[in-house]
Subunit: 248 residues, 2 copies
């Protein structure tokens, strides 16, 4: 049990980038109660087919939403960073269809009961709208992934993903878009981009050779943002994170 958990500040900050919340609503968000848990890598937080009664706020680390195929292949459909309430949608559709899994070692989450979230939603219309809006933004990102995987070649795809993560990390206050931590192995990036680990490796090597990316252990650096953005023809509008949203 914890109140005013640091992750709640991140979460509130996230919501406020897209929605306006009054004092009372802000306080209500910050007083959300949850149970913290550490998740080991490759361990499912949520298994598809289950009926859930909680959502997961990421405290630190990375998590991903997985789709799984009969033949054992997996496809990541979303990557979540600290401050994301990564399965907020399960509040509306508690029978989840997607596995949620730690991307990296050292994933810490805060499990928040649906009951508590629903109470918030019913008591504060502004919070309901903010949650709804965040679910829509999540969908916008997923749509962009469809475009990315469907119509861009491997190199563009990869550059685009690094741009997206960079911008999201920066806006979350977890780094700069040109320098941020990313603890995901190449196999997982491949699963996110719909390609094989071998090819993922070659593409990343290429990006490093061309000095578009510098990757050292868990740290990513972008020497020249504009060139990387051009290589991925990245336009962050779909992230719905600039101020133009702030109209009720």
């Amino acid at each position: 049990m914890s109140s005013r958990h640091p992750a709640l500040r991140l979460f509130l900050r996230r919501l406020q980038q897209r929605s306006i919340l009054n004092e009372e609503e802000q306080a209500a968000i910050l007083s959300i109660k949850g149970r913290q848990a550490e998740i080991e890598p490759h361990r499912d937080i949520i298994r598809p087919g289950e009926l859930t009664d909680f959502s997961c706020l990421i405290v630190s680390g990375f998590a991903a939403r997985f789709g799984q195929l009969d033949n054992g292949h997996r496809q990541i459909t979303a990557i979540h960073i600290a401050g994301d309430m990564c399965d907020l949608y399960s509040l509306m559709l508690p029978k989840v269809e997607w596995a949620l899994q730690a991307l990296s070692a050292r994933l810490a989450i805060l499990k928040v009961a649906h009951r508590d979230l629903l109470d918030l939603v019913h008591a504060y219309p502004g919070i309901a709208e903010a949650f709804w809006r965040d679910c829509v933004a999540d969908g916008s990102i997923t749509s962009q992934w469809v475009v990315n995987i469907g119509r861009r070649d491997a190199r563009m795809r990869t550059a685009h993903l690094f741009c997206e993560i960079g911008v999201r990390m920066e806006r979350a206050g977890l780094g700069r878009r040109t320098a941020f931590p990313l603890s995901a192995v190449q196999t997982q990036l491949a699963d996110a981009l719909g390609m094989t680990p071998v090819h993922m490796n070659r593409i990343i090597r290429g990006l490093r050779r061309d000095n578009l990316l510098i990757i050292q252990g868990r740290d990513v650096q972008v020497p020249d943002w504009d060139r990387l953005a051009a290589a991925g023809s990245f336009d962050g509008g779909y992230l719905a994170m600039d101020e133009s949203w702030r109209l009720s």
Copy 2:
């Protein structure tokens, strides 16, 4: 101006498949006012970058959400059928990032002012939740598309898409999953599945040769549903259309 428009009945039916609405809320949905319009094919209903103040309820025909790339390539990220309020998400993020376009000739829509929808949302919490839930379901479908395009080969992908459309048409009361109208040309299906029109043609020919699909003009028939579903390893759970959702 119209009230109790037939499309509103479809829309209400859609909402009620996922959410519980009381009498008053049902009546409120049915009394939504809108301006009907006929859209020509290849004409944008909504252009990306615009600020919208209305949403589109499809009366008849098909519409699609498009992502566009610098090189002119397009990727469809969602297909909408009659009864879909196809850009409900713009209610929360009025600055749209996606083009919305007629997929077929003979698309009729009902333009509904955001103002009216927001009034409904504020007056009836049940409607707000139903709208929110539908946005989440839309996101679930988009996630499935990521899996489909990212990890399935062309034949599976195609079979999967036909299964999805079949089930959605059936649930909307617009046909049976084994026999439904679909007015989309092969080029557009290719844009939805991230492939070239030429290859799309070959795959469809293959499915017809194997008697998995019968396509005559605008009508699709599925001689053996189970075989088609197997060919696409289709499991409709992600559509969130069975009754298990009906818990508030």
